[in-house]
Amino acid sequence: MPGWLTGKPTISPMTPDLSINLGGLAMKNPVMVASGTFGYGQEYDRYFDISKLGAVCTKSLSLNVRAGNKPPRLVETPAGLLNAIGLQNVGIDAYLREKAPYLRKKGVTIVANIYGHAPDEYVELARRLEAEGAADAIEANLSCPNVHNAKLATGPSMVSQVPEQVAEYTTSIRSATKLPLFIKLTPNVVNICEPALAAQEGGANGVALINTLLGMAIDTETRRPKLANIVGGLSGPAIRPVAVKMVWDAARVLKIPIIGMGGICIAADAIEFLLAGASSVAVGSMSFRQPDASLRVVEGVEAYLRQHGIPTVSDLVGAIRV
């Protein structure tokens, strides 16, 4: 029977297995939330039970509390969002004191995203998180677009634009912690495979793709940049095709798993990333619009598996037909 005549497959009675092991991190499902788009979890716990997520990834944590960049820090663009928050965060001390206990009490799987100015800062952050049992995995943000002076930053301005640096940073952090370690990379490179392979060689257990794309917007009436920081990072549905392509590129060369993100809004978007080769996905900016978007993605992925009679979510990973 030709394909166009086949009806929808009947719904399978089996309960699909959504659980995954992400480079050593056991997750009840492959859906997490992206760093910086979910605060420290507590905020959105008012809307839904956040422990139903595969994991919650924290806002980037630094050794010291950071006030971040001057406002305005946000501007909307077509199907996207430009931000220049500048890593405002409570700092590791307050996180350990006030944020982690809440997540622990809720039974949330915690991916602690960390940011430092040099490898030793990442090392210290990772050590403290592990020592205090305040993270189940570490995601090292080597790709924040908003922490350099934009007026100067026309060369490589992010660690993950330079594969050698990725290797160096990863090796250092690796030596400091036994927790699963993920490295978060920028899409502003020629070939995403290079920093991704460097992370793998440095001992990472996975890579997170992608951070925001560098972008900028100008108010034509005031002639000023719309962000006080001039440039920012572009996120949201606008960048999804770019992110899917990078995941697909990286998946074909890496042995370690990928956390895919960039514009995921609904389950179909997440499945796109899984098919492209991501083992896990993160919902980012969409949470701002719909705080429980990530939970809906979990539910939608489960429904998809049922409809297609696919027993485990891992069967989808890299299952694109080319």
Binding site: G39, V65, G68, K70, R73, E76, Q88, A238, R289
Partner: protein, 269 residues
Amino acid sequence: MPHIVNCEVLTHRELAPGQFRVALQGPAIASEAKAGQFGMIEVARGYYPFLRRPMCFERILADAFTVLYKLEGEGTRLLSAFLPGQMISVQGPLGNGFPIESNLTRHIIVAGGIGVATFPGLAEALIKVCDTAPEVVLAARTKDLLLCEQDFREMGCKVHLATDDGSAGEKAYASQVLERLSPAPGTRVYACGPMIMMRETSRVALEAGAECLVSLEAQMACGDGVCLGCVVESKHESEGERMIRVCCDGPVFDARMVDWEAHNFAYDP
């Protein structure tokens, strides 16, 4: 606690060119909302615009609330196309409302342009709790943009009008009108409007020894304390407290807390 609710559009009227009032049925929100709080409205089902739009509650009824808004860009244009009977998703109530205290001698509302949108509900609350109607300074660029004059008068408020072009009321700035009303210790001034107007208004109020609360605006993504996008600089010196979030630390702030010097007015809409 905020909810995400599909609200039915009850009425939707254009009050003046580009100025609208929409009434939305939303018991879960209305029953918890207070004057000064806001909702995040989903204006499009698709991704253009991608984010919700923050809008103050103008008046809060038992199971509904109204929003007063002006056309700015694509989001408000789409909002203006909703017809009675259609559903619209609102997240709210968000932020902190105005504190209502009865032991003050005088209450003066100072509204600039669409900033008035947060005040009818406040006036109602003040009348209820303090048993006297607040005075209201209504300022706008021009006559057409003066909203709610009648509404405040019906509540028994004394209303002082001011326009930049003199087309209605005094040709003066809101802060100048306030100055002539001689605020004093025991007076609380409530201001909402352009940042520069709030700075001037709070300067006048504070110099006169009055209290001043301002309801700030900022670009928002989440409306709920998560994205850290909506910050303004506070007078706190410490790194951890310097940035205050308009959405959840405000939108209502004690004017003394805001670092007006640090604010770059060039970026204001």
